[in-house]
């Protein structure tokens, strides 16, 4: 039996991963810095038509795209004359497991079955666990979900407890852990012991599965409204939602559509801290995942992450926890749709963004998620209060993550606050250069970096020359 200390298991990670994903990632690497992202997506992933077929077999996708007329009217009342885009929402809660994550799981589980694995494992405290479990039931595979649930007092995040329950409802084995990055260690041991497939969120299978979401939005709007959306807003955490959606939008040929990432502002809270764990009221869709993954995607549970949000982001905004709870309440009360808060992060941003846009333009919120006990504004706010977080109405601008949650007094206080993409790009470049150790960059390297940060080769070169000690030979 293989040795099981933390260090020993981590040292075997590449071998374990290779067997559990069946992808030889080295094939796509060109050097210490460059890898062929599109080749990886093309060779390992599936084509859009195949994915639509695979998802059709298990009832995934083809979700309704609904116009939010009342929220649009509110945005127009707040907007300058002539402004206030129409807001649409893609009701992803109507997927079999209640979120867009069914798309992300569908291809992985299909692939695992085709490759002869008897089960799938996923490390996730989010909706993805239920999605994997649900898809696995439909394909006749076993599921193990590894979740981070509790602090050291054994106090569980209500949102995660609910997601664990849902996994168990689909017959999954759920390993529940206390806070810490060693979840990955437990995950590796499970993969090694079971020989199951790693249904990682970050493989090309997972990301390709989300492409249908972006593609559907464009097809539905062209059919119903005869136009492309000016903006699609994606709640951003690990980056897969945004990456897959944007790729789907591109594949539909919607060249003018801007893709905006939105995360809940949890700045100041440490994601691996035992103390901070239960002082946050969102367990996903927040900056604690969004920024680290945007600035360095290859921190994931696979050697090369297929979710690379910075490649596709035209803008990245944050909203406050209190604003998302407010808008979740508004969605139920004004539009008749009771949905989970985390998925409404992008909706809060969209209500603000719509006010900057022309009235004949369309902004699409590309997901909703299911709601229920634990995973709902009421339990999440009660939990926050029990943990010493102050809840009050006021100006959300005064919100300090972990100390208070401020429910806006009126909708005009909801803002989409821009993160500085240049800083995020510089942070990415810094990590990329540091990890590669390269001091000289040729055409291939600069071209790769330019795609990674979604800037022209010229501008990328400027950024590199101004900020780093590297020699560039184009």
């Amino acid at each position: 039996m293989a040795a099981k200390t933390y260090q020993e298991v981590m040292e075997r990670r590449n071998q374990i991963m290779k067997e559990a994903v069946g992808i030889d990632y080295d094939r796509f690497r060109r050097n210490e810095l460059v890898f062929d992202y599109e080749k990886m997506m093309a060779e390992v992933g599936y084509q859009l038509d195949e994915i639509r077929e695979i998802q059709g077999q298990t009832g995934v996708g083809k979700t309704p795209l609904l116009e939010l007329e009342n929220l649009t009217a509110i945005a127009r009342k707040l907007a300058p004359a002539g402004k206030g885009a129409r807001i649409f929402i893609k009701d992803e809660a109507s997927n079999p497991s209640g979120s867009f994550k069914a798309r992300r799981a569908s291809v992985s589980v299909y692939h695992a079955k085709k490759q002869g694995y008897s089960g799938v494992v996923a490390a996730t405290s989010g909706n993805y666990g239920a999605a994997v479990a649900s898809q696995a039931v439909m394909r006749g595979l076993d599921t193990i979900i590894v979740q981070e649930v509790y602090d050291s007092q054994g106090k569980g995040q209500p949102e995660i407890l609910e997601k664990g329950r849902k996994c168990e409802a689909y017959g999954a084995e759920v390993l529940q852990l206390t806070v810490g990055p060693e979840l990955f260690y437990t995950f590796l041991k499970v993969l090694e012991d079971t020989g199951f497939f790693n249904a990682s969120l970050y493989t090309p299978f997972g990301i390709a599965g989300v492409e249908t979401l972006g593609f559907e939005i464009i097809s539905q709007l062209r059919k119903d409204e005869g136009q492309d959306p000016a903006v699609v807003v994606c709640t951003n955490a690990g980056g897969g939602n945004l990456t897959g959606t944007a790729r789907g939008i591109n594949k539909a040929g919607a060249k003018e559509t801007a893709v905006v990432g939105a995360s809940v502002d949890l700045s100041g809270l440490h994601m691996a801290s035992d103390r901070d764990f239960n002082r946050k009221s969102f367990t996903t869709g927040h900056t604690g995942f969004g920024i680290p993954f945007a600035t360095w995607p290859d921190r994931a549970d696979v050697p090369l992450n297929a979710a690379r949000a910075l490649r596709y982001m035209d803008r990245y905004v944050t909203v406050k926890q209190g604003e998302v709870f407010y808008i979740t309440e508004a969605l139920a009360q004004l539009e008749g749709m009771e949905r989970g808060p985390a998925g409404n992060t992008s909706l809060a941003a969209a209500v603000a963004l719509a006010q900057e846009m022309d009235r004949d333009e369309i902004i699409v919120v590309q997901e909703t998620e299911y709601t229920g006990a634990g995973k709902h504004p009421i339990p999440q706010l009660n939990f926050a209060r029990e943990n010493g977080v102050e809840i009050r109405r006021g100006d959300p601008e005064d919100e300090v993550p972990g100390e208070n949650i401020i429910i806006p007094e009126e909708p005009g206080q909801i803002k989409a606050r821009d993160l500085d993409l240049k800083r995020i790009r510089l942070s990415y470049l810094n990590k990329a250069l540091e990890n590669s150790g390269l001091k000289e960059l040729g055409r291939e390297e600069v071209k790769f970096l330019s795609a990674e940060i979604n800037l022209s080769v010229e501008k990328t070169r400027e950024l590199l020359e101004e900020n780093f000690e590297v020699e560039i030979r184009l």
Binding site: L161, L177, G180, S273
Partner: protein, 103 residues
């Protein structure tokens, strides 16, 4: 003498996955002071009392050992009390929609 939980019962076990000193070097200081703990549910293989070391078989047939902590474990997460800070939101927005002008 405490009552034994019968074999075959649906139970929850607890285990220390990594002691505090075995944890990853990069964990924050507060997290590094406590162990990484793990809970799993499954069917009890032999009758046992709470706190005893037992073996379970999970719903998909895997075997794990650990300390028996609960029988018929509950789902305790709920909705809880009404949250006053949210109660007026719907009314305020509907009132705003009824108001003239702005559109």
């Amino acid at each position: 003498m405490a009552e034994k939980i019968p074999a075959g019962s649906w139970v929850q076990i607890h285990d220390i996955e990594l002691a505090a000193e075995e944890r990853a070097p990069q964990v924050p200081e507060d997290t590094g002071r406590v162990p990484l703990e793990k809970w799993i549910k499954g069917f009890l293989q032999e009758a046992a009392e709470l706190d005893e070391e037992v073996e379970i078989e999970t719903v998909i047939g895997n075997r794990y050992r650990g300390r028996l902590v609960d029988a018929d474990p509950s789902y305790d997460h709920s909705f809880g009390k009404a949250v006053p800070e949210l109660l007026q939101v719907g009314r305020e927005l509907k009132e705003m929609l009824r108001e003239e002008g702005g559109e």
